[in-house]
Symmetry: C2
Subunit: 500 residues, 2 copies
């Protein structure tokens, strides 16, 4: 059997089905390539089937040995060969350059994601329609819930739930429904096939008393977490989001710390870990947090705000909710597409990332962020354009250049490339000017640059037919003679690239 | 002997003067009122004199017993009576209401401070002139350096330095100069007498190779810190600022963590502790930090920024450098007074605090922030007006009401009092409107409010001759019929107070 590096190796074992195998059977496997050892949990998948999944971090021959309290499983051995990764497989995503992300092979990853909370809980046709829509729109990350949502805007009660019910109407987390979790596995695998990161939201408060899944105890959380991690962690596109709007749960913050610590301890791959807020930010400085996943659209409603999060956390900032393109009466759901795209560009020139979501009322009286389906909005095409611009950045990511002083927010890679967003202003021309910060390559007299005019709404790139050569370099800024004539209209950006 | 509660009890002991008493003689005293015990370090003050200072946290009889490795000191005992505090003595300042400060007796403390780095190192006349100027201007906190500054804008080399020199030109931190530190004591005591908090900056990088005081080792830091804390911590107005622009020092961040931990361990009173940045923020979420002391003028150059620091740190935010009123060529030193005052008001309606500083070139070719003296600027009078407005707030402090959604930044105490700053805009009238958040008292139909128009520049308070009664209360806002006619001009604020 051959699995590519960073792919998913899976072995199916037959074992006991009496009693409660979820609870009673302990199962782990230690994989070794002779140099490195990785121990992963296996899990019960129902009907006497036990699965072990493993993602080889390096190519080569891997052997494994099963440890279990079930006599028929303990001591089983096997192996497989991991091949070099195929084209398009760049490995899992990690933090790179403090504020950015890259795949394990070094390829930068630029999150331009969207959100469909109950994607997995919909009928198969709608599930597939959403998957196709997200893929075609060019989003490279999808946030979705494991547990189904109750309350407003919910048009569909799912057929399956994660756990069996107890006699008193609670949830028996020691009896997961394998078919429910197979849907989750399948969703992650479907995204992986399309090159999309799966931002898996482990817990959420949107239950409104309907299902009671927001009321698990700490012990129940831990049991569920172990099962989920055993099932999903081998998929290289998994990101862990502990919760959406964690502070709407009635739980002390220490409980979230504990979940982070558990996750850190049991995830053999160290997948990305964060948590998403309502009004109270989690302390993203805590060591087990890999990046900040923040809800705050206001932070990118004007330039100059979101950059403060970078200073506070010194980790990648992903604004995973900046309000949505749509037409709901709620104020979180009625941005114009122009405003949403504007906020993405403000995020970009603040050195942070943002996520999309759509909230037009659909024919089911639901919203895209809730149930999915085709996109109705006009922002996705513009965000695909933004993603193209980000992908063309030759470096780990865009950082503010003269932090806290350049009010119009220029980001880039010092000395090499700059991106400047003019926002709602529409000047007739722009005198060539570059900020100079304290980090990276210094600008020098004689450095030459070309300029492209990006129309972020009309998605055009217009090269300026002129080379700008620096004739003055000061402590905080450099200038070249000449000016760029700008088209009428708002939402213009400038891409300035060193030519020599 | 009677000392008031929170005052400074001091006893002078005669002891050995041979060898190096600073290094060789260990001295501490345990104070007890029968219920509580406090142990403080004593210190050598030169000429065979040893001092022990203690600030009684409660009134009543206090006894002490000396512990020392010097036979003549060990076992000495004594006592004093602590009286009730006299008028104006509200005790030390602590954090209150998460984002604010209050004295130990519950009286709110609103920082409106200024900065004179080398105040203590100037000739006596200039020292006193500064003290009088700061007092008359109404500033209630003063930031100053213990170690003298080298480099630019320094017109005066001080007569005394903190330590004796070693033979190889270094500093012998085990031989402090008592007269130097007596000046520091005196400065803290002088401020205490005038009701001004002493923001003592323990280390700084502004040495430029001139003195070498920025190059102490971790062990030297610890020796110095212990001596400083033994001398100063009994003064109730002491705030500890570990460093100015800490990230200009060439030290790993862990060294600063260690200094915080040492300070926390040896300061018997738990005085406020922070550290001030250049470009890289310290992690103010660390448990030993009591409040964030941040340099970033840009955070209050526009509304909507500084509030993010509150979310990130959940501690009081004091912007201890927002650029200065002055006329230097450096961009940190040439704000107009209008701009500086504007930034203070933005800080206020962001729920944070700011510090003043003045940088006009003076007759000594120095700056006020460097050497002190009379103020030349016109911002101090306006900041005194702001301080008055803050002091009139009947509550722990001003917090944003509808965080992340009210773009014009209204702060207040929900249901009771609101402060709204209109900034550079100058509308002709303002339709009565209040934001509603999720915390505190809810607005209800029939609630009645009066409005005052504050001209933040001309320092006038004009009551509006009308009562506004809420006739609509929504989820996020409430309105009353009628509008407030506003005067022409910028920098208008509105104070809106519930009357029934």
């Amino acid at each position: 059997m051959t699995i590519e590096q960073w792919g998913v190796f899976e072995t199916v074992l037959d074992g006991p089905s009496s009693g409660n195998p979820f609870r009673d059977v302990a199962l782990s496997a230690t994989f070794s390539n002779g140099a490195d050892e990785v121990t992963v949990d296996g899990f019960y998948d129902g009907d006497g089937r036990y699965l072990v999944r493993f993602s080889p971090p390096t190519p080569g021959h891997w052997r494994y040995r099963i440890t279990s309290n079930a006599a028929g499983l303990d001591g089983l051995e096997g192996g497989f060969r991991a091949s070099e990764p195929t084209a398009g497989n760049h490995g899992p995503v990690f933090v790179a350059g403090m504020f950015h992300f890259a795949h394990a092979d070094g390829t930068p990853y630029r999150p331009v994601g969207t959100t469909v909370y109950n994607w997995v809980h919909q009928p198969p046709e709608l599930y597939l329609e959403t998957l196709d829509a997200v893929t075609e729109a060019g989003f490279d990350k999808l946030r979705f819930l494991v547990f189904p949502q109750g309350g407003n805007h919910i048009a569909h009660i799912p057929e399956r739930f994660p756990f069996a019910r107890t006699d008193d109407g609670g949830w028996d987390v020691e009896r997961p429904d394998p078919e429910f979790f197979q849907q989750i596995d399948g969703a992650v695998a479907d995204l992986l096939e399309r090159g999309i990161q799966a931002d898996v939201i482990i817990l959420h408060p949107y239950d409104r008393g309907q299902y009671g899944l927001d009321g698990l105890t700490a012990e129940q959380d831990a049991t569920y977490l172990r099962y989920l991690v055993a099932r999903l962690s081998a998929y290289r596109n998994v990101w862990w989001s502990l919760a959406n709007e964690y502070d709407q749960h009635e739980r002390p913050e220490e409980r979230w710390d504990d979940v982070f610590r558990q996750l850190e301890a049991i995830d053999p791959y160290g997948r990305l870990r964060s948590i998403h807020n309502w009004l109270r930010l989690y302390d993203y400085n805590k060591p087990w947090v890999t990046h900040a996943s923040i809800q705050n659209g206001w932070a990118v409603a004007e330039p100059g705000r979101a950059v403060l999060y970078r200073d506070a956390y010194r980790k990648p900032i992903v604004l995973d909710e900046i309000k949505y393109e749509g037409d709901t009466v709620e104020r979180w759901g009625n941005l114009t597409p122009e405003e949403l795209v504007h906020r993405f560009w403000i995020a970009t020139v603040s050195g942070v990332y943002a996520s999309h979501g759509e909230s037009f009322r659909d024919e089911r009286d639901s919203l895209h962020i809730v149930s999915g389906g085709r996109f109705q909005g006009t922002s996705p095409a513009r965000l695909k354009f933004l993603r193209r611009i980000l992908e063309e950045v030759d470096g780990v990511g865009l950082d503010p250049i003269d932090k806290w002083d350049d009010d119009t927010s220029t980001v880039g890679i010092p000395g090499r490339m700059y991106l400047r967003y003019l926002g709602r202003r529409s000047p007739g021309s722009w005198a060539f000017w570059l900020p100079q910060g304290v980090e990276g390559e210094r600008l020098e007299i004689g450095d030459r640059f070309r300029v492209e005019i990006l129309d972020t709404w009309h998605m055009t790139i217009t090269p300026v037919n002129e080379i700008f050569e620096l004739d003055h370099v000061g402590r905080n800024a450099a200038t070249a003679p000449g000016a760029v004539q700008l088209p009428a209209g708002a939402a213009i950006a400038l891409r300035i690239t060193r030519v020599s």
